[in-house]
């Protein structure tokens, strides 16, 4: 039903900060796209332009083919959930949810019916009479979500909605949002700086850096085949070892892999789970520390030149600090000039 199209959008703030730089993205009907990037990469600015709170310096934003670039927020078919929930503290829950419906001049019983339905949807049936400050952080965010959903927006926008909640609650709300989104089939743009959140939620992830797209792809794709060292380093844990290829081989402090490319600088990226290690007395590398996570353990290894890498192992007790190890990368990628030149 609803499709979002962002074409060549830039935002330059007074003072010269380029927050978003020629950004383009199409979000299909019912799709959930995560904007993922470190703080300051322009995610919020982009979202706020879609919601109408910032005016793009250039470019076009269209919803269902209709150009809304210059439409003020109150006349856009978008619904925004803010990180700080931004509930109106002088109104109770019911009135927070009913405000937008009243502006649309719906009949009273229709308003009541829709508010009750949406409260049910977010798991807060019967909370209408509560004051907003009598709710927990998670409940407040649920009300904020409900406030947007009750108006049935074409595009749902969420700006790090769970960032201020604790880990446990965050994971639960994440699942609820995903459930609700799929049930309503609502086109959604979700901003986060947490890669686990993006991986868990998204149909597609847009990795942003300095206001630009670094990579777009499914969570699986972005995780398995990061297009640049930046993406590789940002998503999941990744060993990034810089060095040179000489004669088709990369070597650094006892870490060596074949890289069939021309001689020159490269960055090798290996996931800890793809870095095989074996005990080897007299090897150039040794175990620096072992951290047990219960389900698995992470072995920190110091290469001959002092560089550290991480390897994932099953059992912590098989390893001890100081022990010599041989490294056998099972899967890796080699990057040169911000692009993949070889996967092995």
């Amino acid at each position: 039903m609803a499709q979002l199209e962002i074409t060549d959008v830039s935002k330059v703030f007074p003072g010269g900060t380029v927050a978003v730089d020629r950004f383009s993205l199409k979000v299909a009907d019912g799709e959930l796209v995560c904007l993922l990037g470190p703080s300051g990469s322009g995610k919020s600015t982009l979202l706020r332009m879609v919601g109408g709170f910032e005016r793009p310096s250039s470019g076009v934003i269209a919803i269902d083919g209709e150009d809304v670039t210059r439409v003020p927020p109150e006349r856009r078919p978008t619904g925004m959930v803010f990180q700080s929930h931004a509930l109106w503290s002088h109104m109770n829950v019911f009135r927070n949810l009913a405000f937008g419906l009243k502006l649309r001049r719906l009949p009273k019983d229709e308003i009541r019916r829709r508010v009750e339905a949406v409260l049910e949807l977010v798991g807060l049936a019967g909370y209408g009479a509560r004051q907003t400050n009598q709710l927990s952080g998670g409940q407040q965010q649920r009300v904020a979500l409900a406030r947007s959903l009750v108006l049935e927006p074409k595009i749902l926008l969420l700006d790090e909605p769970f960032a201020s909640l604790d880990q446990h609650l965050r994971e639960r709300l994440r699942e609820e949002v995903r459930d609700i989104q799929q049930r309503l089939k609502i086109t959604t743009l979700f901003v986060t700086h947490g890669q686990d959140e993006a991986l868990a939620l998204a149909d597609r992830i847009v990795v942003m850096r300095d206001g630009r797209t670094e990579q777009v792809g499914s969570p699986d794709m972005v995780y398995r085949e990061p297009a640049t060292p930046f993406v590789a380093g940002f998503i999941g844990t990744m060993n990034l070892v810089e060095g040179r290829v000489a004669g088709g081989r990369f070597e650094r402090g006892g870490f060596g892999v074949p890289v069939p490319v021309a001689d020159g600088p490269v960055t090798i990226a290996v996931r800890p789970e793809a870095l095989g290690i074996a005990p080897s007395d007299g090897a150039a590398s040794h175990v620096h520390r072992v951290t047990d996570y219960g389900t698995h353990a992470i072995v920190d290894i110091e290469l001959a030149d002092g560089t550290r890498v991480k390897a994932m192992v099953r059992e912590a007790r098989d390893w001890r600090a100081g022990q010599g190890v041989a490294l056998k990368p099972e899967a890796f990628a080699a990057y040169r000039d911000d692009a993949v030149v070889h996967r092995g």
């Binding site: 919601g51 109408g52 709170f53 003020p72 927020p73 109150e74 006349r75 978008t78 619904g79 925004m80 803010f82 700080s84 931004a86 509930l87 109106w88 503290s89 002088h90 109104m91 009135r95 405000f99 937008g100 009243k102 502006l103 649309r104 904020a144 406030r147 947007s148 108006l151």
Partner: protein
């Protein structure tokens, strides 16, 4: 408060608190009691601690005067008009100050400060000169104008602080669900800033009620407010009891303002009452 501070508070006496309570009583409450007692003393000669004869003689004397009632009406009307005009002019201005980035902002702020930094009476005399030419001297609207100028500082800068404290995300959230800028101001910004703005309005009303210099300089001889009337009466009839009665009469707006303030600012019902 930390968990440890609670048992400690039981053992230690709050000397600072007691000190301030005593000082406050001596400085404010005690003089008030003395003045109130004087107003109902028909006879009170030194060295008696309480009056020899209580009675309402001076109240009757005061309230029997027609010019007294005129001045009361004048003061109330004047204060209401000035406060209403001040709010009408200053609240939108304060919102603009708080929300918009315009270069003139710091200049305007400075000009307000500058206006307060010079001796007020000199300024008033200069303004009186101008008003004389405009034939505003001795007129109701002349006094309104001069008192209005006096209220601007308070009526702009307290609301500016109040508006600045309103979470912009709340306003944006209201835009998001379909409210235009005016509706956002009425349904979100104003109620959020409500209690503080109510305080500014109350202070403006009371300050205007008690303002004397401008009212006297511009108002005389045609317009006589209560404080001006009080000076006039005391100058003509220097009797302590008369002064006391007039003082007590002048407290009335303060007491009303305080009662109103407690209900409005303390409860938060004011803010909720504004809701959409």
């Amino acid at each position: 408060m930390t968990a440890r501070a609670v048992p400690m508070a039981r053992h230690e006496t709050d000397w600072v608190g007691i000190f301030f309570a005593v000082v406050l009583t001596l400085v404010i409450i005690f003089p008030l009691i003395v003045v109130a007692t004087w107003s109902v003393a028909n006879v009170w000669r030194y060295p008696a601690v309480i009056p020899q004869e209580f009675g309402l003689r001076y109240w009757h004397m005061t309230l029997a005067r027609a010019d007294m009632w005129t001045s009361i009406t004048t003061s109330i009307t004047l204060s209401l008009v000035v406060t209403a005009l001040s709010a009408l002019i200053c609240l939108p201005a304060a919102y603009a100050f708080a929300r918009m980035e315009f270069p003139a902002r710091s200049f305007l702020f400075f000009s307000f400060i500058a206006g307060q930094a010079f001796p007020k009476f000199g300024l008033l005399v200069a303004i009186a000169g101008i008003f004389l030419q405009l034939q505003l001297i001795g007129s109701f609207w002349g006094v309104v104008l001069i008192q209005l100028v006096g209220t601007l500082l308070l009526m702009i800068w307290i609301p500016v602080a109040a508006f600045q404290n309103v979470d912009r995300r709340m306003e944006e959230a209201a835009r998001d669900v379909g409210a235009g800028p005016l509706r956002v101001f009425r349904s979100i910004t104003l109620p959020q800033a409500g209690p503080t703005i109510a305080a500014a309005i109350l202070l403006t009303f009371v300050n205007t009620f008690y303002e004397t210099e401008g009212a006297w300089l511009i108002g005389a001889p045609g317009v006589r407010t209560m404080p001006v009337q009080m000076i006039f009466v005391i100058n003509n009839q220097p009797v302590i009891q008369l002064g006391a009665v007039l003082s007590v009469l002048l407290w009335v707006p303060s007491i009303f303002a305080l009662i109103f303030a407690r209900r409005v600012i303390g409860s938060g019902s004011f803010a909720r009452g504004f809701g959409a």
